[in-house]
């Protein structure tokens, strides 16, 4: 009873506040919109979370692949991984990327990587590993959705994945077992690089988005006057 009374008082107070500010806030529906800021922050946190997941997953998977892939100083040349999107980019180029392009590159990259990862999942024999891979895939799926959400919030269209370029993963018979493992190695490595890059991308976006959000508020405030 007390709680309800408290709630009703709280609601009443809230209502009063809203009514008081009503003349000063003509664009009420726009203040309720959280904007892309929180979702960018969330996407950034998610990349870090995925990074953390991948670290443990990669360790497990590389051990599963066995030597030399699980050796710390194993650094093979990038062979047979041409289909994987490259995360590395010239710093100047990266800096000059606009938000839409930056988000689009991220979205496309993770779409490809996810597709490859699912193939990895199908291959894996160990149940625990499969569970980890499945969870990582789900998380990556969440990242994709998150990026899509940010893009939608910023009003950018989602990139159209062309049917031809749809990365249909198929176990190539030409691949030797070692080369296959090499692909898996590079997939994980490229994923990690992309997660690092994405963290940077979203951190940059986050910083970029905060002042405009403040400006909007300020603008609304001035508009009210």
């Amino acid at each position: 009873m007390d709680l309800r009374a408290g709630d009703s008082w709280g609601m009443l107070a809230c209502l009063c506040t809203v009514l008081w500010h009503l003349p000063a806030v003509p664009a009420l529906n726009r203040t309720g919109d959280p904007g892309p800021g929180p979702s960018i922050q969330k996407t950034y946190d998610l990349t870090r979370y995925l990074e953390h997941q991948l670290r443990s997953l990669a360790g497990t998977y590389l051990n599963y692949l066995g030597p030399p892939f699980n050796e710390p100083d194993f650094n093979p040349p990038r062979l047979g991984a041409e289909t994987l999107p490259r995360a590395t980019v010239n710093l100047e180029v990266w800096r000059s990327l606009n938000d839409k392009l930056r988000l689009t590159q991220n979205y496309e990259a993770y779409s490809h990587l996810l597709c490859h990862l699912r193939g990895l999942d199908r291959q894996a024999a160990a149940a625990e590993l499969r569970r980890s891979l499945a969870h990582f895939c789900t998380s990556l799926q969440g990242l994709l959705g998150s990026i899509a959400g940010v893009m939608a919030a910023l009003g950018y269209p989602l990139p159209q994945t062309l049917p031809g370029t749809e990365p249909a993963w198929a176990p190539g018979p030409a691949h030797s077992d070692f080369l296959q493992k090499m692909d898996d190695f590079w997939l994980l490595k490229e994923l990690q690089t992309w997660l690092w890059r994405s963290a940077k991308d979203f951190n940059r976006l986050k910083k970029k988005m905060q002042p405009p959000a403040a400006a909007v508020t300020l603008h609304l405030g001035t508009h009210g006057f």
């Binding site: 969330k42 946190d45 998610l46 870090r48 953390h52 998380s139 799926q141 969440g142 959705g145």
Partner: protein, 882 residues
């Protein structure tokens, strides 16, 4: 139970029908609907359809259908015949949860035949689940729970549904046992919002909860921090550093912490302010701790922004702060023991070990310094907590410090006064009372400033000596509780001594109990004295060990064997009591109870009997009775004496003695007789003539001087000459004298007798002297009866009886002379005289004279001597033969 029955019922009916029909395997009809589920309180209609072949066989149609629910026939009012083969039944407001409904027919118009049966279930559609909440246990799956709403009475499935904006997650179906919670199969993905809701579904409907949209990371319950360790600092004894390892979730979310600690042995946790630990960290330094104290720590964490749940508490970690110098001087006191030699004394200094929170470390030893007035001090290092020193009778100052690894405590100073010091200034209003299972002591401070108080106490017992324990309290303290282990039902003697700067003050003592109990035994009562109506009861005070409390009062119960019990309350200060108003000669039973504040205890029963008579009562009765008896006897005897004559007259009337009878000579020769008398006097001792007169006057109460007696003699003789006679008395007396005189003067006596014998007798008419009687002198003896003589004077028998009329008179005369030196003159009633003779003077009374009769030869007495005198001289020899 009922569900399998529901299922087997149609089969049974089928079998039954088949058996009855002999060949039919199909049922005779069926009910629509087959498995009805009805909402509680709603209407329900079932239709029974008969098959044609059965109708023909049993000669029935739909009108023959009747319904039963749970073996009870449904009233026909609820039936509706739809057509020839089908009839329905309608129930309104279905209330039963499970009903067995059967369709029956009257086969051949009279045999009840089962056709078909169904089980009607009723219940409610599910309510919308509420209060949906989810928790994501780190490293585990997400679990959600909700309130399922009202009871539906039906099988209701709850399904937890979850989805992303882009994807759906697999449904989570609850298990039968727990329809209010479900744990999803997938691992929730942090930082991606998901939507969760619950769907409840049963045969009567579907209900869906509110959708809940959240980021799983905001519902997370982290794993508690691990590897918690505690380290101390040598520089600061008041701090401990707590370090731990954060859960792995800390790699992508920030945490805040909740740290608690407590000193070992205490139960309450101390909370470190949450704002001090509101950000991610892996160590924390706890301050303001006590030195050399072990502390226990625990902590938990949650997402920094407060969304989600606190983790479980970590494992407890222990650490001990570093030592510090003792923060307080030990309690310090002394006691003087009996001195071994004169001029010195043994003083035992004693102190208490510091409690850990004051010792602040391990106490290594104690330093004691003793300073005599203006002389060098002596130092001692002691590991024990007491030190016995031999001191002179002077005043000393003792100081005590405790030392640990880090430093030395402040000094406790104690002044040991000189031997002749008289302690004064005690505390005032000392009292002790139990409270909260502790024994408190309270006092008022003396007027002078007190440096500290010493509380000493010991258990009082008859069996064990008083071994005191003690404690010290600050000078500002006015009340304190005894810190030692105290027993209940034990009397404690508590002493409070104020200690001044110049030495201890006078001690005050009080007794108290931590908790009183009824006495262990009751007082043994006994009688001190039992009276007829009262008894004095006495008892001893109970021993201290048996009192178990302050004896507040006694109650004495006493009763007779038949009567009611009477109770008397007696103040505890008494040890005896007098029961009054008791009934005499009665058995009383007495028992006695002693009461403390907590109750009483009866002593053994004691009986006593009150005596029939009070002490001295018998004596008081017997003695007066005896005395009265004695008095009565005496009175009787006196009376007998007084009334002797009367008695005598009645019993043995006086018979005149013929031997003494003579004719009185009334003649004018009286003067010669006087001469005779004087002759007589001359004859005998001249001085003694008067005494012979006294003898005659024996009855006269007043002894007279001799001259007077002489006069009296004259008077009497005149009287006797006037016809008066005290004759018989005189004669008697003379006779008696004669008898007493025995044979000494036998010769003289015989001479007198011979002289008197001349005249036989003189008869004097008894009469009043005024009537001068004519005295007839008989010359003959009237009687010579010796018997009478014997009778009258038995004691005269031995001497040979004188001749009648002679022997009587002369001897008395003679006897007078003889007896004159004796007491006869003084004591007229001589012991040797028989009472009869003593009466004679009394009979001299005028009234009696007549009665006794002039016949008496009283005159003869008077006359006798002169008469007898003559013959004596004449014929002494005549009597010789006598």
């Amino acid at each position: 139970m009922s569900a399998p029955w529901t299922r087997t019922l149609p089969a049974l009916l089928l079998l039954l029908t088949a058996v009855c029909m002999g060949e039919l395997l199909d049922p005779c009809g069926y009910i629509v609907p087959e498995a009805p589920v009805v909402r509680l309180g709603s209407n329900f209609t079932a239709v029974c359809v008969l098959l044609e072949k059965c109708m023909d066989y049993f000669h029935v149609n739909a009108a023959y259908i009747f319904w039963k629910t749970n073996h009870e026939t449904v009233p026909r009012a609820q039936y509706t015949v739809l057509n020839r083969t089908a009839a329905s039944v309608t129930f309104t407001d279905v209330g039963l949860l499970s009903t067995q409904l059967t369709c029956n027919v009257h086969a051949f118009g009279q045999i009840d035949q089962n056709v078909y049966g169904v089980r009607v279930l009723s219940g409610l559609p599910p309510e919308k689940p509420t209060n949906l909440s989810c928790i994501v246990n780190e490293e585990k799956r997400m679990t959600c729970q909700w309130d399922p709403g009202r009871e539906t009475h039906l099988d209701t499935n709850f399904t937890l549904k979850s989805e992303w904006a882009t994807d759906k997650f697999p449904d989570c179906k609850t298990e039968r046992g727990s329809p209010t919670a479900c744990t999803v199969e997938y691992q929730a993905v942090y930082f991606v919002n998901m939507e969760v809701w619950v769907e409840a579904r049963n045969a009567l409907g579907v209900a869906t909860s509110e959708h809940m949209n959240f980021d799983p990371v905001d519902k997370v319950k982290p794993v508690p921090p691990r590897n918690v360790s505690v380290s101390s600092s040598e520089e600061l004894s008041s701090i401990l550093k707590l370090t731990w390892v954060n859960p792995s979730i800390n790699k992508f979310i920030s945490l805040k912490y909740d740290i608690q600690y407590r000193a070992r042995g205490t139960a309450a946790w101390t909370q470190i302010p949450l704002e001090d630990t509101a950000s991610t960290r892996s160590s924390f330094t706890v301050q303001d701790l006590r030195p050399f104290t072990e502390y226990v720590f625990r902590l938990r964490c949650m997402k920094e922004d407060g969304q989600g749940f606190w983790s479980d508490w970590s494992e407890e970690a222990r650490g001990t702060t570093y030592e510090d110098r003792p923060s307080k001087a030990p309690s310090f006191w002394y006691k003087v023991e009996p001195a071994p030699a004169h001029g010195s004394r043994l003083v035992q200094l004693m102190w208490k070990t510091l409690p850990p929170f004051e010792a602040n470390g391990k106490i290594l030893d104690y330093q004691v310094t003793l300073t005599r007035w203006k002389s060098r001090s002596q130092n001692y290092t002691v590991r024990d907590t007491k030190l016995t020193v031999n001191l002179t009778s002077d005043r000393y100052t003792a100081t005590l410090t405790a030392r640990n690894l880090v430093g030395t405590s402040d000094a406790a100073v104690l002044t040991i006064p000189a031997c002749d010091f008289a302690a004064t200034r005690p505390v005032r209003d000392l009292k002790a009372f139990p409270k909260d299972n502790r024994l408190w002591v309270e006092w008022s401070a003396p007027r002078e400033p007190v440096s500290k108080y010493i509380l000493e106490w010991c258990a009082l017992s008859d069996k064990a000596p008083c071994v005191p324990d003690w404690q010290q309290e600050d000078g500002s303290v006015r009340r304190a509780h005894l810190t030692g282990r105290l027993a209940e039902s034990t009397c404690y003697l508590i002493t409070v001594t104020p200690v001044y700067s110049d030495g201890p003050g006078a001690a005050e003592a009080v007794r108290a109990y931590l908790k009183q109990a009824p006495p262990s035994s009751g007082p043994v009562v006994r009688t001190k004295k039992v009276g007829k109506n009262e008894a004095v009861l006495a008892w001893d005070q109970l021993p201290v060990d048996e009192q178990n409390g302050f004896i507040r009062n006694y109650t004495i119960f006493y009763k007779t064997s038949a009567g009611n019990e009477t109770a008397v309350n007696v103040d505890s200060s008494h040890t005896e009591y007098t029961l009054s108003s008791l009934t005499s000669d009665t058995l009383y039973m007495v028992r006695m109870a002693a009461y403390t504040d907590e109750g009483g205890k009866y002593g053994p029963e004691f009986t006593f009997t009150t005596p029939k008579f009070a002490q001295g009562e018998i004596e008081a009765i017997v003695v007066p009775v005896c005395l009265a008896f004695l008095l009565l006897t005496l009175l009787g005897v006196l009376l007998c004496f007084n009334k002797r004559d009367l008695i005598k007259k009645h019993i043995w009337p006086t018979v005149p003695d013929p031997s003494k009878s003579h004719i009185a000579q009334w003649s004018p020769h009286t003067p010669p007789r006087h001469n005779f008398s004087s002759k007589d006097q001359m004859f005998s001792d001249g001085a003694l003539t008067d005494l012979s007169v006294v003898e005659i006057e024996a009855s006269d109460p007043k002894p007279l001087p001799e001259e007077l007696k002489a006069l009296e003699l004259f008077r009497k003789e005149k009287l006797s000459t006037g016809g008066h006679s005290s004759g018989i008395g005189g004669s008697s007396c003379m006779s008696s004298r004669q008898s007493l005189s025995s044979g000494d003067e036998a010769e003289a006596a015989s001479a007198q007798s011979a002289a008197s014998a001349v005249q036989y007798s003189t008869v004097v008419h008894s009469g009043y002297r005024h009537q001068v009687p004519s005295v007839q002198v008989f010359s003959r003896s009237e009687s010579t009866q010796p018997l009478l003589d014997c009778e009258e004077r038995p004691d005269e028998l031995p001497p040979p009886p004188p001749p009648p009329g002679e022997g009587a008179d002369p001897p008395p005369r003679q006897q007078y002379f003889q007896q004159s030196p004796g007491p006869a003159g003084e004591d007229p009633v001589g012991p040797g005289q028989p009472p009869a003779f003593r009466e004679v003077p009394a009979a001299q009374g005028p009234g009696e004279r007549l009665e006794t009769g002039g016949l008496e030869a009283a005159l003869g007495l008077d006359e006798g001597p002169p008469k007898s005198y003559l013959p004596q001289t004449v014929r002494p020899g005549g009597y010789m033969p006598q």
